[in-house]
Symmetry: C2
Subunit: 317 residues, 2 copies
Amino acid sequence: MTHFADRLAAAIQAKGNVVCVGLDPRWEALPVEVQQRHGAATLAAVAAAFEEFCGRVLEIVASLVPVVKPQSAFFEACGPEGMAVLQRLLRKARDLRLITILDSKRNDIASTASAYADAAFGGTRLAGRTYPVWEADALTINPYLGRDAVEPFLASARRIGAGLFVLVRTSNPGAGQFQDLLVSPPPLTPQGGEVGAGVPPRPLYQHVGEAVATWARENLGKCGLGDVGAVVGATYPSELAKLRKQLPEVIFLVPGFGAQGGTAADVAPAFRPDGLGAIINSSRGILFPFQPDEPRWEERIEEATRATISALASLFP
Amino acid sequence: MTHFADRLAAAIQAKGNVVCVGLDPRWEALPVEVQQRHGAATLAAVAAAFEEFCGRVLEIVASLVPVVKPQSAFFEACGPEGMAVLQRLLRKARDLRLITILDSKRNDIASTASAYADAAFGGTRLAGRTYPVWEADALTINPYLGRDAVEPFLASARRIGAGLFVLVRTSNPGAGQFQDLLVSPPPLTPQGGEVGAGVPPRPLYQHVGEAVATWARENLGKCGLGDVGAVVGATYPSELAKLRKQLPEVIFLVPGFGAQGGTAADVAPAFRPDGLGAIINSSRGILFPFQPDEPRWEERIEEATRATISALASLFP
């Protein structure tokens, strides 16, 4: 299968923009007509409302943007029926030729990580067969457990040409509590020799970013970008600029644009001169630009999508 | 509702041991009779086999141990049907009066974290109602995103007297890549003054542990332990000892005992003198002490559970 970064680049070039639409459905924000059609008697009914709404969003944005990113938490909040809806929406997005990023920030060790990773990508392997589960093009993961916990995700992704986005610098106000801690490399190797002598301390997120670059360089696409990207929030433009310079082969998935406060100028440093190297996620700004009782909500979504594309147009040549 | 730490302490005292049985079902390891009864024609069939097997495990261990910990990844690997099985097993464990820890290492920001947290504990809140989803007594979470991403989990847990276990020092061989990085105190306060001068650098995991202690101290139970615990691997006994001293109010969830190599001596430093303060997880060692074609597998599970309890008996007065 074509390398993830090349598929992403082709989709970006075909659509002429770098917008990722986040699918974060919230009951209270749904159009009243959708709420009323399904009701909220059970979580299965709520999940069905999410499916109708997100399905319409996919149809509206499919010809406009290259990427969508369903947020697993909102589907898990509806229990197993919500996960079934997530599965069908991922399939629908794929059928509409959208690149899909499953945003579930999974993480675990060894064979447990493999179980998450196989489910995300090629499918669960057992009894000599492979059973599709999420079939995403990419998955978000958390790096805290270290390389050997990331490797099972790399292995599953590379088996089918999928991608990973590793949390590096997140968009929340308190992201710095651990991510900004200044860290030094360990002073001694197991053999007693000094390593990293003379390397000044740097924030943890840069250290994680460096690890991401190492993983990305293991498998570069023709476009020069790797299949392991980094999540870097739009709300920290100076960190974004530093990381772009530090990690030239790493694709950035940039949340925090729009509703969370990030502007086009804030995210500009994330890009290479050819307009590749990053995708900008917008969730609430595109999904819910209307009041629940507004009748022409589908038009509002299309307008909001086009407005987001325009706002970022200067970033893509 | 009674404080999580007090409920856990009562369960430990009632059963007279600190064993947590990890429910990590794997198709290849299931008894052949269970494999044959369900087959693997679909993931729903595999999930049904997991349900039968794990349901029997729950019945066998319910009178023996205080806690069980289903591993979300293996159920998610079976897709939505697997999540439905996870939900029913959590309910069955609760009906059997076992304390349940949902091991899904969830993490996200703001309202997304709330969605995961409400689903784990009191239930998804929407349309003015609350809909139960997982109804766990505790949840494992990843700390990388920082305090404001942990707070929604704290809020949901505290609403119903549930608990959290934050990844601090994991049991995998590569855990140290980030967790052992030496953190230097920030050189300057925003006002330009020096802070932390003279504080020696310490590993990131101790820094995270200190944050966990801060969260735990916000809400201590009568037993003197908080409702926010730490995951600390049995495979690193010296780290375990340091953390016990550093975090007297924090309950440790200790994976890595048995199959991953940890011994009773390794985990001994995790406990307070009264035998509280930690629970020791065993997954494969209790779940799969038999060959798939062995007929009396249920007896083997009971023996393995009793053997694990005996091996750890010296730790509990």
